[in-house]
Symmetry: C2
């Protein structure tokens, strides 16, 4: 279920109490067109093509609303701005540390880390995420 259909988008907004404004719609569309894992800046540039007066801050805000209501996910790597993912199904992404390209890793499934961790710490575990880096096929050729 990549890229929720129109009705789902409306429903998510309705339930959250946020309004589906033209800017938020534009950000969502840009993300859809982009197909990859763009940064806020990249989303901004894409959105600006259709509506040149949208502000970068608005894109950041829209992204965080979209994330909050569960339509997109934010993913972080250490040497990169946050990247956004329309694919909210649980999956892992790997980022090339040479060219920055992000790719999905299909079929990779680990059993829940949180359970194991909970047995070993008095902390209440609220979030775990596996950060994966490497070299993409193209960049490997430069070795």
């Amino acid at each position: 279920m990549i890229g929720s259909p129109e009705s789902d988008v409306r429903e998510m907004f309705r339930r959250s109490g946020y309004t589906l404004t033209s800017q938020r719609r534009a950000v969502l569309d840009a993300l859809q067109d982009f197909k990859g894992h763009p940064s806020a800046e990249e989303v901004y540039l894409a959105v600006k093509k259709k509506n040149p007066k949208v502000a970068l801050g608005t894109v950041y805000q829209a992204l965080s609303v979209l994330e909050e209501i569960g339509l997109i996910e934010a993913k972080r790597w250490s040497e990169s701005p946050v990247r956004y993912d329309l694919n909210t199904e649980p999956h892992y992404d790997i980022r090339c540390t040479r060219c920055g390209k992000v790719a999905e890793i299909p079929g990779l499934k680990f059993d829940d880390f949180a359970a194991r961790i909970r047995e070993n710490t008095p902390y209440k575990v609220t979030n775990t995420s596996l950060v994966i880096e490497g070299h993409c096929p193209v960049c490997q050729m430069e070795d």
Copy 2:
């Protein structure tokens, strides 16, 4: 082997080709005294107590040298500056998202992620790290 003894420190520097300067020593000492997982800023403040004329940039530089030669490790969480760890044995740390405290999770061991990942992507996997967040016991009481 937490906090390598003097001879090890010297050996690591010798092999790397970097020189063990008084500033780098001071940064290492500060890290030792601190005992936790301090940020560059915190290391800087600690170092300044004994030598008020060190610059923040020098601390950043020293930390990256120490990391490069393998005496310390840098760890990242999303809402925090990089934190440094004298404990270079493989282990996991959890960070409280409310108060920022970082604690080690002893006895937690996952089998190598990289192998599993490699089977599912054409990327050459160079690095994986598990980011863990939660609420510490103290902060849990505020619930």
